[in-house]
Symmetry: C2
Subunit: 340 residues, 2 copies
């Protein structure tokens, strides 16, 4: 398989796009596609400060990398969940994140700025022509056990009486911490690395039960509907998981391969295997499922179900909540005064 642009060996073949590319042109294509999605869904501008939620995985580190190379003011937020059994998952994830930042892979090296022999700018330059000179991103780290006194598995065991996975407690905590830090530090936009496979698995799950309220709220961009909330965006929502993995690989980004030990064998992963069979049988099926959904949503198919909740400030932390009195986070964590 040859690169369509230059005829050298391709590193990836994207059947749904009928497009094979070499490493250099793939990185260029990937950055261009990201930029297109950011513009298409009006996610953010170069004047805004962006907070990228980084987990140490391929999606979020690639997102941070590509945003920096495209010249966005992108800082990172790592949330330490205290998931370190049976393996030090959280510790290893943080290490990968620090490594990425220290590696300088995201920095546009000065020799990349030179024009190539044939007078044409190299792809690396074209990709990074907007990169901000001398911008050094900040990594915010919020360690949940250090800040709130318990790890995610601990609080979940306590609150769920040992029933079920800690994923619900984890999701609630991460949403809270992300939103809180973004607000406190003055970020107007929070970017997550959700890829197409993630989005399609959630869409599939909500469709299987026809949860129209959830369908109404699934989108590449969720505006800040209330003072104290931050706009949420998913610039990778149209990339297959293998495409973000290929980007990380070609760019030399080291990332944590393991998924969270608590996610192994969950329903979402089972649905992903079903959807992968569908994709193998019919390349592009997942992308079509997602894009046709967005089209239907854009036409107002779910507007009726997009109830805007009345929010008020949590009596403890001041974050917007639909619950009376304390928000779900402060209730779960038994918070009686502001911490963190």
């Amino acid at each position: 398989m040859k690169c369509r642009k230059c005829g050298t060996s391709a590193v990836i073949n994207m059947r749904q796009h009928k497009l094979a590319l070499c490493g250099e042109h793939y990185v260029e294509w990937f950055a261009g596609q990201t930029e297109r999605v950011i513009e298409k869904y009006k996610m953010f501008s170069r004047d805004e400060r962006i907070l990228v939620a980084v987990s140490g995985g391929k999606d979020s580190l690639s997102l941070w990398d590509v945003l920096l190379r495209l010249g966005y003011q992108a800082d990172g937020l790592y949330i330490g969940l205290g998931i370190n059994a049976p393996l030090p998952y959280s510790d290893a994830s943080l290490e990968m994140t620090h490594k990425f930042l220290a590696s300088d892979v995201w920095r546009v090296a000065s020799d990349e700025s030179r024009v190539t022999d044939d007078g044409d700018a190299s792809p690396a330059i074209r990709n990074s022509q907007f990169a901000i000179p001398n911008f050094t991103p900040t990594l915010h780290v919020v360690d949940v056990p250090a800040t709130y006194g318990k790890s995610i598995p601990e609080i979940s065991r306590e609150k769920m009486r040992g029933q079920g996975r800690p994923c619900a407690a984890c999701g609630l905590t991460k949403r809270y911490v992300m939103n809180r830090l973004a607000h406190d530090q003055g970020y107007t936009v929070l970017a997550t690395g959700h890829n197409l496979d993630d989005e399609v698995a959630v869409l599939f799950q909500n469709t299987l039960r026809w949860q129209l309220g959830y369908l109404a709220r699934q989108a590449p961009i969720l505006p800040a509907s209330h003072e104290g909330l931050t706009r949420k965006v998913k610039p990778f929502c149209r990339f297959y998981e293998r495409e973000t993995a290929a980007y990380a690989l070609v760019r030399g980004i080291e990332y944590i391969y393991d998924e969270c030990p608590h996610a192994t064998g969950n329903q979402m992963n089972f649905h992903k295997t079903l959807l992968n069979q569908l994709e193998t049988e019919s390349p592009g099926a997942k992308l079509a499922f997602y894009l046709e959904f967005l089209r239907a949503r854009g036409e107002g198919a779910f507007t009726l179900y997009n109830a805007t909740e009345t929010l008020h400030a949590c009596e403890i932390c001041g974050q917007p909540t639909s619950a009376p009195g304390r928000c779900a986070f402060c209730r779960m964590w038994d918070v009686s005064r502001v911490v963190g």
Copy 2:
């Protein structure tokens, strides 16, 4: 596994209902469920003459059987499609249909009317207590090659220039013939044997592409929206395929096992295998997908997309059509005068 009703050996275990039953109680349960669906969706009454579309398969023959035993005036319509290569599929299907009618399995035998030793009516009696005495159903047979001059594979090859499967031509022809005969013979309702697996596969297909117009029209009952059209109902829409097969088996109904040779390996069947994996992982998932869809539909989720087409009479056959001049059937078959 024991029958929940009587403790003898069960013939079927329905995981999604947590219900195992012996043959006798299964037949009783199956008839009761059919009756419930007919009533719930207001499909038809015992005063109406019902036309059952029979193919010689387990679903349609079981449907005809159970309707007769429940005391409905159910006649049959067999459409000969002329699909006899590589195997005599159509001929064998017609033979099975004739066999069913001749077998008298559907007739309530007089000894079943006797009360059992313990003074209780047997399940067979309870099921058939409404059966119409001395009612003998009629079987209408419309042979497509004899009536229109060509078999379905022939007309399809001619019109499609050998491209693709004949399923589109077949569907169009069957819909036309069913509607036409129902109308000409004064049937107010047309019943088909579509089971839950069929309905869910169609629903899945339409959902993958978010075809909201199709979603708006998928229902257990489609009212006769226009003079000349017949109400269409699917009394088996809540039965899994294995449940209709089990009913046919227990009732001793012989049916054609093979599916249409043209359907082998089609996308619908591929989707069915995916959905079967979902069902195995989570029993009841298919039923929930379908019922939650009906709930959403009932709440008006797709009402916007339920465009009522303006129909007029086909200039050849007089059947309602949205096409100008001749209807799609008369165009495909190059009909210039009424036949059949």
